[in-house]
Amino acid sequence: EAGVTQSPTHLIKTRGQQATLRCSPISGHTSVYWYQQALGLGLQFLLWYDEGEERNRGNFPPRFSGRQFPNYSSELNVNALELEDSALYLCASSLTGANEQYFGPGTRLTVT
């Protein structure tokens, strides 16, 4: 069974640009979660989507947004990139209502 996949693996952007990160959940999973793993800050919850709806949001500014598509894949958009947005962005998926979250390999975003 294929795990959670994310693309691209690496992304280099300039401050002020926009970044789009993509995630495909495990087959059968309808919930997708996004986390930011920045050096020294650990894993921070960003967003949770389930059945196409945003269900919860972490303490991040509105320039962090996303969506979930009918096939349950998801996209994270970061607008007006700042240097401190440089981090590993992790996507996880779960069955609806399940606690267990399974993570993908992440997208390394570097903002210069």
Partner: protein
């Protein structure tokens, strides 16, 4: 504020020894406590998890001990192996309110097992 506190930050253990990582939490609404293992360049992998209705859960060489009254839980790795060298994260989540669906992670413990 840090909802889950993890210690130690780093741990060095001899091959065959026991590795112990501790976590503490404040929010009594938390009802699910997983541990994740992360190797460099990889995403975290779910290792083992426990709910507060049991005090211990064992899977192979990995055991979670849970103390509900103290709001603490710990991971024990028996017979530690060099292949266990990784960063370990504890986490907690709740099915209620604004915390629904989100995992709160500890800061991580970098484990090194010497051969």
């Amino acid at each position: 504020q840090q909802q889950v506190k993890q210690s130690p930050q780093s741990l060095i253990v001899q091959k065959g020894g026991i590795s112990i990582i501790n976590c503490a939490y404040e929010n009594t609404a938390f009802d699910y406590f997983p541990w994740y293992q992360q190797f460099p360049g990889k995403g975290p992998a779910l290792l083992i998890a426990i709910r507060p209705d049991v005090s211990e859960k064992k899977e192979g060489r990995f055991t979670i001990s849970f103390n509900k009254s103290a709001k603490q839980f710990s991971l024990h790795i028996m017979d530690s192996q060099p292949g266990d060298s990784a960063t370990y994260f504890c986490a907690a989540s709740s099915r209620r309110g604004s915390t629904l669906g989100r995992l709160y992670f500890g800061r991580g413990t970098q484990l090194t097992v010497w051969p």
